[in-house]
């Protein structure tokens, strides 16, 4: 089939369960121009080169006219994931102040007990059940509770922000040839509402700080000036959404992959020290984020192809992760793999901000589930997937558990 329809095929919902043959086709083709004019890049080294090229923008306002979507002013305020340096750097470092080193080096370690407690509660609630949906009963509620706790968002508001979050994820999906106007508008509206909601929560903490991040943003701003109200809204929305919509895929993909590889499951159960390596391997083998978009600020050469200024480039992380030029035996799931510099968290200046937290969450979650999985079976394989081609993962993962003795 023609390589210029690859993006259409990759984003076609029918291929969600197994896009990997398409990725192999893409790597074969090199840099592939698509029918809508955009470019697809799937080779590990080409993706890394583009991640590190300062001429590639994360800011969609740099799209050339034909690709531009909504008028720029309708997209304000912008989260730092969609901004370039130096603005990106300024906002990311303000967001890091209450989250990680140098100002808050102990934050994630301090979350461990809390994550374990939440995990234990969820496991508890599974006791005695023989049919479980890994997504709804475990992999989704866990990161939601964690990010709520971290930011200081009431857990019981989840039904409210879940709808906003869905609209935001839908608006940032990649769907070639479709007019994104409607979903983008809905996404912006959801962003605005979620932003107001989070800023209100933060304002309630002014003067009465808790140990959460929203409190820190309003009560302990950076001495050089903190976030403006708009920046706080955009940042808090980004953290809330990025903080759970990805981790749910990692945990679910983890369960699915282990149930498909019972030998590895058994091995991990016996040698739990292998878990951190197994989580890295999952981030390579079944990454939660498959596609990212960048815009060249000038003509950019990749692997012998010149991508013109302003034309979107889609980096297929999940393809780079399976590139045989980089990984030996790339289609094998090997929790003991060494030399595993996967692209699961991206690379370069936008590399995932929450990676240390996501790793801890996945390690604790899978560690706690392992003993229950040895007798579990998949009810449906492949399971039904979420719509998104960007954040690819099961929507439900029904499994049967052996009745407890």
């Amino acid at each position: 089939m023609a390589v210029d329809t690859l993006l259409e095929r990759i984003t076609d919902y029918a291929n969600r369960p197994d896009p990997y043959p398409l990725y192999a086709e893409l790597r074969e083709a090199g840099v592939a121009r698509q029918t809508d004019g955009s470019y697809l890049v799937g080779g590990y080294y080409d993706i890394v080169a583009l991640f590190h090229n300062p001429r590639l923008s994360s800011d969609r306002r740099n799209r050339a006219g034909a690709y531009s979507g909504l008028p720029a002013d309708e997209e304000e305020p912008r989260p730092f994931i969609r901004l370039d340096d130096p603005e990106h750097r300024r906002l990311r470092s303000l967001a890091t102040r209450p989250f990680g080193p140098p100002h808050s080096p102990g934050r994630i370690d301090a979350m461990r007990d809390e994550i374990t407690r939440i995990t234990d509660e969820l496991i508890e609630s599974l006791q005695g059940r023989t049919r479980v949906d890994v997504v709804d009963d475990f992999a989704y509620p866990l990161p939601v509770s964690v990010i709520c706790r971290l930011l200081g968002v009431p857990r019981e508001d989840e039904p409210t922000f879940r709808e906003w979050s869905n609209a935001i994820i839908d608006s940032s999906d990649i769907r070639p040839g479709e007019n994104l106007g409607t979903s983008q508008r809905a996404g912006n509206q959801a962003r605005a509402q979620m932003g107001r909601y989070l800023v209100d929560l933060a304002e309630q903490r002014r003067g009465h700080p808790g140990d959460d991040m929203l409190s820190a943003f309003v009560n302990d701003p950076d001495p050089t000036g903190g976030l403006t109200r708009e920046e706080l809204a955009a940042t808090a929305v980004l953290l809330l959404v990025a903080g759970h919509e990805t981790t749910v895929n990692l945990i679910t993909n983890g369960v699915l992959t282990l149930l498909r590889h019972p030998d590895q499951l058994e091995r991990l159960r016996r040698e739990p020290d292998l878990l951190p390596g197994a989580v890295e391997e999952l981030l390579r083998y079944e990454p939660p984020v498959h596609l990212l978009e960048r815009i060249p600020l000038t003509h950019v050469d990749v692997a012998g192809t010149t991508i013109p200024k302003g034309v979107p480039v889609v980096l297929v992380l999940a393809s780079g992760n399976r590139d045989p030029k980089r990984f030996r035996d790339p289609d094998r799931f090997d929790p003991t793999r060494r030399d595993n510099q996967h692209l699961g968290f991206g690379s370069g200046v936008h590399i995932c901000y929450g990676a240390p937290l996501a790793r801890v969450e996945a390690q604790i979650a899978l560690g706690a589930l392992l003993p229950h999985l040895t007798t579990a079976t998949l009810v449906e394989d492949p399971p039904p997937y979420r719509n998104s081609a960007v954040l690819r993962g099961p929507r439900h993962l029904p499994i049967e558990l052996a009745p407890s003795p």
Binding site: V48, A49, P54, D85, P86, G348, I351
Partner: protein, 458 residues
């Protein structure tokens, strides 16, 4: 692979970073024979970079920087013993305790030491320090903790600048005296050196450039009290740190017949030492700060590096080649990488900034204190230095490896159009005019650059 290469015996002289990494790598690659590591310091291998950073800040004690072992190299450690000679024909290393160690393969990893103050009586004053070893750092940290009124640092290379930074962070007054035009100028050239000078002054360092220290003064009790400068001024201080660069530990090889000199022991890209006739040996290898090796990316100029990363990479290549013969041997081609943290900024360098004629600020700016400076030599990219922007380093490393054209194409998201289009002279001075060592020295000859340096100052 011939079995005997795995049997040895192998001797490593120098029990520090390069020596340890080589020993580990030898075992990793299946060397099963006897392995002896000789080191004149009494300690197991430890790490030096924290000595001028965390240790001087009082954040960690000097004796806590031991290097983690990736695996037990199962070696006979001869610590506290100096190697005094090498018999290339009889294949043995002579030790200060009179013993001699026979070898089948030898690795020389004796590194460098701090260049001492040239007047021994002045250097012996109480309060005068150099900084290379764990003991040096421990004593200096103790003096800083005692709250001296002023510290004088002689030499504004990386080590001197880091020391000055630590003093300021601890609220101690500090004067830095440098013969060159600015701090770090020998390593980074004039443009970034201006940034370094600005940083020092902004942090309250009394920075004196273009001067030399003519004498260290002491009182009757033999305590350091201050120093005279070539401009006629006098600095009162109670601690003085000599940070005038490094001297290669090659004296023990003086009669060996190896090509060992002030720039180190010359070797080929496979880490095999040259003898004094320029003939390559096949059983003596060199790695780390003591080595001097040709690099294809820099026109096969001989490089002498004082870089942590180079010591590790080169030790691994040397170890691999010591137990391989013929085609499986590997070249040491790693692009030099160096980092420093001082005055609240993180500086990283890739390539060889001194191997340049021009420089351009490709991203960020001096005033933002976030920038990438890209260096070129005759139209191709040879180095990049990031200030607080280390995440971009990898990209520029790729350009250096590809010998990409200089200046780099404009259009970076955070490039300033007027700035990125103007390459400036890189303004790398002749190292003979500096108080500090360059940390990357080109030790060959370039017709248009006076870089055939070479006598040690003093």
């Amino acid at each position: 692979m011939p079995g005997d290469l795995r049997e040895g015996p192998i001797v490593i002289v120098g029990a520090s970073l390069a020596g340890l990494r080589a020993a580990e790598k030898l075992r990793e690659e299946g060397f099963t024979g006897s392995l002896t590591v000789v080191g004149d310091e009494p300690h197991p291998p430890y790490d030096r970079p924290p000595l001028s950073k965390q240790v001087l800040l009082g954040m960690s004690a000097a004796d806590t920087t031991g290097l983690p072992m990736r695996r037990d190299p199962d070696a006979d450690w001869r610590l506290g013993v100096r190697a005094t000679g090498l018999d290339l024909v009889g294949r043995q290393v002579l030790l200060a305790d009179g013993e001699s160690l026979p070898y089948d393969r030898l690795l020389i990893a004796t590194g460098t030491r701090a260049r001492p103050w040239p007047q021994p009586e002045q250097a012996a004053l109480d309060g005068v320090f150099t900084l290379r070893t764990r003991e040096d750092a421990g004593c200096l940290a103790e003096r800083l903790a005692a709250g001296p009124r002023r510290v004088l640092v002689i030499g504004a290379g990386f080590t001197g600048s880091e020391i000055a930074s630590a003093c300021r962070e601890r609220g101690i007054e500090v004067t830095v005296a440098e013969r060159g035009t600015a701090p770090l100028v020998g390593a980074l050239g004039g443009t970034l050196a201006r940034l370094a000078a600005g940083l020092q002054r902004a942090h309250g360092v009394d920075l004196r450039c273009g001067v030399t220290v003519t004498a260290l003064c002491g009182n009757d009790g033999g305590r350091f009290t201050g120093a005279d400068l070539s401009d006629g001024s006098h600095i009162d201080a109670d601690v003085c740190v000599i940070a005038m660069g490094a001297v290669r530990n090659v004296e023990w090889l003086a009669d060996s017949g190896l090509a060992a000199g002030p720039h180190g022991v010359a070797c080929d890209a496979g880490c095999r030492a040259f003898d004094m006739y320029g003939i390559v040996t096949d059983d003596v290898f060199v790695a780390g700060d003591v080595s001097r090796f040709p690099h294809p990316l820099f026109d096969y100029q001989m490089l002498s590096l004082e870089h942590w990363g180079n010591a590790v990479a080169q030790a691994e290549v040397a170890a691999h080649n010591m137990i391989s013969s013929g085609p499986p041997r590997r070249p040491h081609l790693a692009v030099p990488v160096f980092w420093s943290s001082q005055f609240g900024v993180n500086i990283k360098s890739v390539g060889v900034p001194t191997y340049s004629d021009q420089v351009v600020i490709a991203q960020g700016s001096l005033s933002e204190r976030h920038l990438v400076a890209v260096y070129g030599y005759r139209g191709r990219i040879t180095a990049a230095v990031t200030v607080n922007m280390a995440k971009w380093l990898e990209y520029y490393q790729g350009l250096i490896e590809a010998a990409a054209p200089f200046p780099p194409a404009p259009g970076a998201a955070d490039g300033h159009p007027l700035v990125t289009e103007f390459a400036l002279p890189s303004d790398v001075p002749d190292p003979r005019g500096l108080s500090h060592g360059p940390t990357v020295a080109l030790t060959g000859h370039l017709p248009d650059r006076r870089l055939t340096v070479v006598r040690p100052a003093g």
